[in-house]
């Protein structure tokens, strides 16, 4: 079998059929010298749905990804170490008071983007978060209306066959999830006990892995390696759920294709992209360029594309490209039970409580949820070394309790701050491109939110009968911001349609457009916005306004 990282697979008019070992599907190919309607850089939570919907609406589209085109059935081992192949591991420098751990903890490099290894938790924002400045007093307002978003969330949930409960306990009414909720594992059961003891509601978590067959995807078999790639295709990553649709609709995907610079012409508009593939730099002409590389690579590419006309980088007249980077607080409380929990079985987050996203009786801004956990051995040991400082015989003894461990982990809202940002370091990478420097420090509000959450999680675990509890105080996960959307060109990078204010044929469609990040995992919101953007582009095209 060929090595997915050695040479591109999507070439010569065909791309891998992810559902059949050794199989191929036909792929349309576009010439570099003729401008395509859209080049999309990145094929993840934002790029995947956008490429698909643009192609389905009749546009010519080429999707680029720096990462390989995996065949999950053949390439994915059931192994934490081997599956490092899924991550963006090119060097990045991190600093600030609370440097963000990158790599496996924070970004993917593959056709399908980070959704190939994400944990599949698929949640909607609380409606007020789209207007958090005017309604809740912090952050910035989104230029989007939650009712319209509710509609697009529904579309995204159907496209991904989300498995979830019949009724979801928080927020405005939403339709029933397309697939039934998954069976809960022991760890999810303990979360439920703890929530009930606190008087909170809880729910099976809406997940992007199917609980019954769907097309060529078999139901989830609860092997629990979801964060290291799903080798059965039950998981509805973009690689499985959207990209095959995109190919069928006539899009071209170029894997192992790193875009290094976006070119602009004499009229100031984008003309195409310089990209590195099969050992050399190439140029693809395009009428529109969409950047969907996630919150680090998107600003990096815009900044690295600086030229005489745009000396501070593209789309950056506001000076906000790279600023307002947000991660999410990801602290946890862990402990032991007499029971055998065996928390590695099944997807890691099978139950959730969003109580503190909807209860405003607290003295800080923002909200958070928490979910059941099931770290595999390597992740678990790094929690023990990081949080308890254990090593030596003590560590080995503690690790033997693996099957009796249980815990809950939060996803909490961190506030935007202009000083948390992505800039370019002087060092260059294997392509000769300047690497990103990522600077992050928590604010007082962030710390207050974390303290509140740790206290509540701890109490709930103790009430559920968990012993020897301890707190993991320093983890973060998920990224957002760095090219925020807004309604004023002075205080945002793109408008509600993800179109840059400065260059009308340059768009951004990924996690970087978030003005605030909310207290839930981001992907469903990214994908819902991508579906909306595709519709908006069609409407603009029909009116001759592209």
């Amino acid at each position: 079998m060929s090595d997915p990282l050695a040479a591109p697979r999507a070439i010569q008019g065909r791309a891998p059929d992810v559902f059949r070992e050794g199989g191929w599907v036909e792929m349309r190919e576009f010439s570099e010298s003729e401008a395509v309607d859209f080049v999309v850089i990145g094929t993840g939570a934002g790029g995947g749905p956008l490429i698909t919907r643009l192609a389905e609406q009749g546009f010519s589209v080429v999707g680029f990804d720096a990462g390989p085109y995996f065949r999950p059935l053949e390439d994915f081992a059931s192994d934490e170490t081997a599956q490092n192949q899924l991550y963006w591991l090119d060097e990045r420098i991190v600093d600030g008071e609370n440097p963000i751990r990158m790599g496996g903890n924070n970004s993917g490099k593959a056709v399908g983007g980070s959704t190939v290894h994400f944990a599949m938790v698929s949640l909607r924002f609380r409606p007020e978060w789209f207007k958090s400045r005017s309604l809740l007093g912090y952050g910035a307002d989104w230029p989007l209306d939650w009712r319209e978003m509710w509609d697009y969330y529904g579309k995204a949930e159907r496209a991904l066959s989300i498995s979830g409960p019949v009724t979801y306990p928080w927020g405005p009414k939403r339709p029933r999830y397309p697939y039934r909720a998954h069976e809960m594992n022991g760890a999810a059961e303990v979360l439920a006990r703890g929530a009930e003891a606190m008087g909170y509601k809880w729910s099976p978590t809406p997940l992007a892995t199917v609980s019954a067959p769907r097309g060529d995807s078999p139901p989830c078999v609860y092997r629990g390696f979801c964060r290291f790639g799903c080798s059965t295709n039950a998981k509805q990553s973009q690689l499985v759920a959207f990209i095959p649709r995109a190919l069928a609709a006539g899009a071209e995907i170029r894997d192992l294709a790193m875009v290094g610079r976006i070119e602009t012409g004499a009229d100031g508009r984008a003309t195409g992209v310089h990209y590195f593939r099969e050992g050399r730099w190439r140029f693809q002409r395009a009428r529109n360029v969409v950047v969907a590389g996630y919150a680090i690579e998107t600003p990096r590419l815009l900044l690295n594309s600086a030229n005489d006309r745009y000396p501070d980088g593209l789309a950056n007249s506001s000076g906000l490209v790279g600023r307002n980077l947000m991660t999410q607080s990801n602290q946890a409380v862990y402990g032991s039970m007499k029971d055998e929990v065996r928390w590695n079985k099944g997807p890691p987050s099978l139950s959730i409580t969003e109580h503190w996203n909807y209860d405003d009786r607290k003295d800080f801004f923002g909200g958070y949820c928490w979910m059941a956990q099931g770290p595999l051995p390597i992740e678990w040991v790094t929690v023990l070394t990081g949080s308890l400082g254990l090593w030596g015989e003590q560590l080995r003894e503690r690790m033997k309790n693996y099957n009796h461990q249980v815990g809950v982990k939060m996803v909490g809202e961190m506030l935007p701050n202009e000083n948390n940002r992505v800039t370019l370091a002087d060092e260059t990478d294997q392509y000769g491109l300047r690497i990103p420097r990522i600077t992050y420090s928590w604010g007082d509000n962030d710390k207050a939110l974390v303290a509140h959450a740790l206290d509540k999680m701890q109490t709930s675990m103790e009430l559920a009968g968990v012993r020897d509890t301890f707190q993991q105080v320093d983890d973060t996960n998920h990224l957002a911001g760095t090219a925020r959307m807004g309604s004023d060109p002075r205080s945002s990078v793109v408008n509600a349609d993800c179109r840059s204010w400065d260059i009308p044929n340059l768009w951004v469609c990924d996690g970087s457009i978030f003005p605030t990040t909310g207290g839930v995992n981001p992907s469903l919101t990214i994908s819902a916005i991508a579906l909306r953007t595709a519709d908006r582009i069609k409407a603009l095209a029909d009116r001759g306004e592209l």
Partner: protein, 212 residues
């Protein structure tokens, strides 16, 4: 020390539906790792090996895990974590400085290199590194605490708990594709999972572990 999962061996499942071909290949590659250093000098490799043995004391009842060899392979293959703290040099230099720093500390405190001092004395030097107390000389301004926590400790435990020996020891099910799991609730065990020895029931656990 009693064995919590007597007779359990993850590798016994190698030919069952819990392991697919790509997993077998990945683990075979891991077990076949070269034991000789390819990146570090023999002297520094010996220091690394001694430090790894203190961070993860090797089990006597199962085949030992060549931890230093995994770290050397990571350096040799330039496997990055995808980020670097701004105050740290690149991975290779971090190890060269840090291991030399441990050796210097042993020499200045005991008159002997790190590999030659008693295990308790080695632990003490490692504790000093963990506490950020080692400075000067080979450290060249690199914080010993960051070296210990982010590199040495992290890479050592990552190597150990990525190895079948450790999975067997902690009763982890290990690879699970395509079969997966069926019994999800508390205190339910699939027949292909490790059986834990409850007091007085070691023989039964051993019997069950013979049939995973």
């Amino acid at each position: 020390m009693t064995d919590q999962y007597p007779g359990y061996d993850v590798l016994a499942k190698r030919r069952t539906p819990s392991w697919n071909e790509q997993t077998r290949q990945a683990i075979n590659g891991r077990l076949a790792i070269p034991r000789e250093p390819r990146f570090l000098s023999p002297d520094l490799f010996a220091v690394l090996d001694a430090a790894c043995r203190r961070i993860i004391p090797q089990p006597t009842e199962r085949p030992p895990v060549p931890l230093a060899a995994y770290i050397d392979a990571k350096l040799f293959n330039k496997q990055s974590d995808g980020y670097r703290l701004a105050q740290m040099p690149d991975q290779g230099d971090t190890y060269r400085r840090g291991l030399a720093g441990l050796d210097e500390a042993a020499r200045s405190q005991h008159g002997l290199g790190f590999t030659a001092i008693a295990p308790e004395a080695q632990d003490e030097v490692l504790r000093q590194a963990h506490a950020g107390k080692l400075t000067g000389g080979a450290w060249q301004g690199m914080p010993s605490k960051t070296f210990f926590e982010h590199r040495l400790l992290n890479d050592t435990v990552t190597a150990y708990y990525g190895h079948p020996t450790a999975w067997s020891e902690i009763g982890f099910g290990g690879p699970a594709s395509p079969r997966g799991y069926v019994r999800m609730a508390l205190n339910r065990r699939d027949p292909w999972e490790a059986a834990e020895a409850k007091p007085g029931e070691e023989a039964r656990a051993r019997r069950e572990n013979d049939h995973v």
